[in-house]
Symmetry: C2
Subunit: 893 residues, 2 copies
Amino acid sequence: MSSNRSIYFFGADDPTLTSLDRNVVGGKGAGMAHMSRLKIPVPPGFTITTEMCLAYQRSGRLPDGLEEEVYRAVAKVEAMMAEQTGGDPEHPTFRFGDPSHPLLLSVRSGARASMPGMMDTVLNLGLNDTTIEGLMAISGDRRFALDSYRRFIQMYGDVVMGVAHDLFEHALSAARKDAGVKLDNQLTDEQLQRVIREYKEIVARHAGRPLPSDPREQLLGAIRAVFDSWNNQRAITYRRLNNIPDNWGTAVNVQVMVFGNMGDDSATGVAFTRNPATGERKFYGEFLINAQGEDVVAGIRTPHPISKGASQTLVSLEEAMPAIYQELLQISEVLEQHFTDMQDIEFTVQKGKLWMLQTRTGKRTAEAAVRIAVEMVDQGLIDIKEALHRVKPDQLDQLLHPRLDPKASKEVLAVGLPASPGAVSGAVVFTPEDAERLAELGQRTILVRIETSPEDIQGMASSEGTLTARGGMTSHAAVVSRGMGKPCVAGCGAIEVDYDQELFKVKDRIIRKGEVITLDGAAGEVILGDVPRLPPSFEGPVKQLVQWADEVRTLGIRTNADTPHDAAVARGFGAEGIGLCRTEHMFFAADRIDQVRQMILSDTAEDRREILKNLLVMQQQDFEGIFAAMDGYPVTIRLLDPPLHEFLPREDEEQEELAERIGREVGEIRTKIEALHEFNPMLGHRGVRLGVTFPDVYQMQVRAILQAAIQSKRAGVVVLPEIMVPLVATRTELELVKTAILQVAQEVFQEMGERLDFLVGTMIELPRACIVADQIAQEAQFFSFGTNDLTQTAFGLSRDDAGKFLPIYVKEGILPKDPFVALDQDGVGELVRIGVNKGRGAKPNLKVGICGEHGGEPSSIAFFHRIGLNYVSCSPYRVPVARLAAAQAALED
Amino acid sequence: MSSNRSIYFFGADDPTLTSLDRNVVGGKGAGMAHMSRLKIPVPPGFTITTEMCLAYQRSGRLPDGLEEEVYRAVAKVEAMMAEQTGGDPEHPTFRFGDPSHPLLLSVRSGARASMPGMMDTVLNLGLNDTTIEGLMAISGDRRFALDSYRRFIQMYGDVVMGVAHDLFEHALSAARKDAGVKLDNQLTDEQLQRVIREYKEIVARHAGRPLPSDPREQLLGAIRAVFDSWNNQRAITYRRLNNIPDNWGTAVNVQVMVFGNMGDDSATGVAFTRNPATGERKFYGEFLINAQGEDVVAGIRTPHPISKGASQTLVSLEEAMPAIYQELLQISEVLEQHFTDMQDIEFTVQKGKLWMLQTRTGKRTAEAAVRIAVEMVDQGLIDIKEALHRVKPDQLDQLLHPRLDPKASKEVLAVGLPASPGAVSGAVVFTPEDAERLAELGQRTILVRIETSPEDIQGMASSEGTLTARGGMTSHAAVVSRGMGKPCVAGCGAIEVDYDQELFKVKDRIIRKGEVITLDGAAGEVILGDVPRLPPSFEGPVKQLVQWADEVRTLGIRTNADTPHDAAVARGFGAEGIGLCRTEHMFFAADRIDQVRQMILSDTAEDRREILKNLLVMQQQDFEGIFAAMDGYPVTIRLLDPPLHEFLPREDEEQEELAERIGREVGEIRTKIEALHEFNPMLGHRGVRLGVTFPDVYQMQVRAILQAAIQSKRAGVVVLPEIMVPLVATRTELELVKTAILQVAQEVFQEMGERLDFLVGTMIELPRACIVADQIAQEAQFFSFGTNDLTQTAFGLSRDDAGKFLPIYVKEGILPKDPFVALDQDGVGELVRIGVNKGRGAKPNLKVGICGEHGGEPSSIAFFHRIGLNYVSCSPYRVPVARLAAAQAALED
């Protein structure tokens, strides 16, 4: 196939005249050519190449010789049509411009990539005052012919001659008004003829010249108009948004018109070779007898199903035109075999003959994508690798959470960030206490906060989902919600929360406490009322797909889980261990937060020690539960990380209540809170710095971990504890804390009369730690990159405060993506790469993982695979996503 | 000289028996050997090498053969002493252990590096119940002999036999009590003899064996004790603190005792070859007739000056012993010529004969260090390079600020961080308003705050100095004070500030508003009352020294200056331009802060624009002043950096006052403040992020800079403006802002009908910026590393919050130094290096500087020199320090 030709044909017998090269003939042209070669009946036609479009753009006129070539192509198309319809190709009956037997043409754009609705189309080309008579005669339907002529003038006037669309619509609606009718098809022939006359006058007046009656002139005008439409504003914007290069150009497809509205032996329809919503392997579509393509989608007439049994009242194509149905079914099989993917097709039946007008890869839901990919492997149509490529990892996320029923109607109040997927409904509450109280009464709530803090965790757990006015994709609300697998819409700036009056506003609309709203965490939508939802599933095809992914991937997949429940959920999704267990979340549980507070407020070392003994018992139980849930898999436990003031109450009232509960002066408590205040808590007294300054807390935690591990081992559980020290910046810090950890281990082993293998490692989450990773590796048995904090420090960007400018940055393209969602590979990723290389340089067998939010994001996972990490760790509900993404990354190698 | 020998001699005629190698014979031994070779009279003796010490440490016993060698050496020393004192070396009169003419020995440690007081010494070795009689006879002074014996038993019992010092002291004080006297020398011979008997009993009882009377046994015991003392706890700690390797070991010096208390023809003294306080080239010291060395420093008798004219009442050595004085003066000359540095010497005159006991390089004040270095160049003793090495750059800092008079007494209330050098006194005030008000009345104040914020700047400028309870070496108070050249003691945790009662407490002591205190910013001391001070100087030797530095250094030295005054001061100190002019400091001036606030609070773009017009006029005046002060030098101006909320008042009352002043509702103001609140302002909406989101502020600033530049140029000033964009993390950010800057420039040039060259560059102060410096360099004409923020982000460490753990980190050696004071070269420095290399890789002629606090710190300056920066920029008062440090760095190459 040479691309030197300026025109290729389709619908022809001779395959050498066709081109399958999308770059040359565009997507639509290539689809037609494919069908031609498969001997599927398509109305004959030809494609003018994208190269001609580019030549036209350069010179501003049609390339030399193209005009004559177009005329010759039209003649060839006349012959091809004659041959296909049983006529004499040497003397075709129907010819372009023939007064008694006019052949009509369509002119459509067709770029390499689909740009739906962006460029122009002209139908019914070839009609004029003479040929209209022929069309009336052949079709035996004056109204059809007149209406076709009317539409042609309107479309040509608009697209080719630049006459405003509105002018025609006004004239038409005036005609309807005069006639006293509501629908166009209620106009009489005479009334239609009047409209046609008026249309012609509008064109002449506003374009400054009459509509050309010469069909050849019409054709050249339409071709130019399609070429021009490559550079209309809509198309340019679409290309920029979708990263389509300007220099691709569009092809032009000129094709014989066929009509589905030529009587009861005619029909038109659209179909999918499988169900695009569910993926079921069943021919699926809609059609109308005696109708044009646009009637199927216009909603005036109700389309009928194609296959039997889909409707009890409407007659299917299978019943109405059984032979056509069988032919279509066979074509559908051929197309799937040929393209090895589900196809979206358009067809027309003209006087008992089936014509295919389009085939393309069909869009589908996440559910359908998975099922189709898996079933096509079973059918032998594609192999496993191909199936793994067919599903976008992020799509799996939708399947693992309840979704809004796509058929349900909804009133969207506001849109925030899609912080944690899933759809839920509940009564609005504004305090975590209300959420907890109502949960005990069995009521479902949505917690609405300006922003959340660790104190809100119980309330978040008690509610169905969380809505915040501030904060980004990795704000506290977002991270905690994803960890819990609860839906969250974060940073919804359009809502104005008034805690005092217990209401929130969206512009003038007021939503009070108790009113029901629905959150769609995957779309970031806040919706009024209770919108119906579909349940999630992790069985069948999706399970099969991620099992295949496991065979391919080399990256390990762990989960971030803080409770036995989360651990069990993650394991169900295929997690191979815990990469991050945050011990502080346990500290916030209702039965221990006051103990934690007393520890922080204690005046003497003895008081502290007493309280730590109590906490030790509780933490040991926590860890036993987690070890049991992760039996046989490693569990990485991070020692206390957040600054202590996060555990103390902020509000005056809460402080007073606490003082009363624990029997201390509120003044003392406030003084302590004041003393612990930090200007930049993110950069403050936290992580290993607590381990250095308050060694007894870390000692208690290490003791709880190891005692739990030995107890679990005695109970028959296979335990692989990994103790992780957070926020390390220097080797000496880690050395100091490691020494203390080994000391405690020695004590515990002696006391319990039993030893146990465990690892000591560190989070790498500060730029300095990446730069001196060779030094730190001397003291570490593993590294786990904390890419959340690393992103914050590398960019100097607080997740909690970025809401004021980060959205603008992403919108204006200063940052390609939110770096808290997709890893910034140039900057943060490079720091990770330096850290991995330096760490492994000093200790070649160093185990290296990542436990930031990026561990569940496909493009980031691909990066982590490339730089040779051992595993990623993500929230439980992202585990299947990560398994698939890791497989795709491995296949890229 | 071979180090195979285990013993070297000094005080001998034969130079081949001596060693000058400090590694072998230690510092003290080498000093003696030097003097021996210079024919300066030293009491003869020998040095046992450090190698013997190490062998002893390894085996736990004296090396084979050493004992005999020691005995032979003692015999040789007897001969040498005879020869030196005009006796017969073949038959020496004085011999070790001789009953009638006992030669006494001292045994002293002597490591490579001076470790004053860390290891043990035994004097008067050789005394026992027999030889004491001989000593009495020769000296003719029973009391002297008995007291020497008592001291020997106490010293030997303690050092060699491990009997607690206290036991002897108790016995002695009991004896004094019994005798009814206050001083030891008031005891009678009989009483002394009783003490000696008691001492012997104490030794026998507590050591379990009697004090050896055999002088040889005494000698070997003392040698072992000195070897052992290398590993006493004091010495180990000292070595760790001073980075002295454990495997150096110590030498042992065994030397003939001479006595300055053998009558009126005996004396003892200490001297410096030049004045160690002022550096004046004049022999300087103190002595006492008929006294022992310790009497000179013990304070019981007032020492006399060595040279004539230093005292009106006390007889000088020059007058009392003119021949000895001349001999000493000559020795002093010889030693300076030989060591080419000022020497600290000790001497004893025994019965009319001068003996030198020690020479070493003398410690000196900053003033003396500079003057001596410069004058020794003038004398031709050393060259300029050597002079530049003789002064520690940090010492210059002391000379450029008022210092406490070292002779004045002072009551130190508390010690904080030495945040900004200089000594000042003033009345305590607690609000910037009070400081301003009292300054207008001509009163000097010290501003005391828990911590400072930008609102306090005017108050800080109005007060003499600032004291804060919180914050580190680079807290707001510290940075601003250094910039202003005002003393500051920061993070003084011992003071408890009570704003309500207008007082601060130090433990139980209360200091109220109006009481006078003195701050010593170089020492971090808070002192009660008004302590006398010495004025600074930047003339004479110090000016000469830094001029020599300029001839050697390759690194440019600029200054951080925000006002014409600061710029002029820095220029006086030799600054070659401004590396950082912070425009926001101008925003806080009393006449414009309300305008700035109104701009922030304005509701419409028009309101903003109006206010910006006013600010434009003011900023333009600021810049004209600065350009004039820096005529001929480049001026780097940073566009607005801090988050906007920093400009708004924090306290309720201030908010109410502001509302009244500008005629707005206080509620509105509070809502705005609430909306601008940030959890981590350091990582928030600041720097270029303001430029992106509020472009009109940057546009105003650029316009002010360029209009000022053109006006200044017209006035004959040579202007080289460099516009600097802060906190850039991505290339696109800088590109966007740069485009806007160039656009404004175009407008200004057109309006004013004149063009002007200027540069556009960026601060590199985020880890990501270092990592992608190659991308950012595409848009930048210069880089200036902001190592303050880079340290904060690389370490994840907020300057303002680090006070809670950073001091512990430094104290426990987790960090070798406060990384905000001395650049962390491994981590932050490596990021700078990466940034420089990537930046220059993309743009080879990129100008690169640094404008963080580290720009004035010598070890950091050396690093910046090594990695090839073009310049450093530091606060005005650090400019001379930086010039010298840069010269030293260049000499290191």
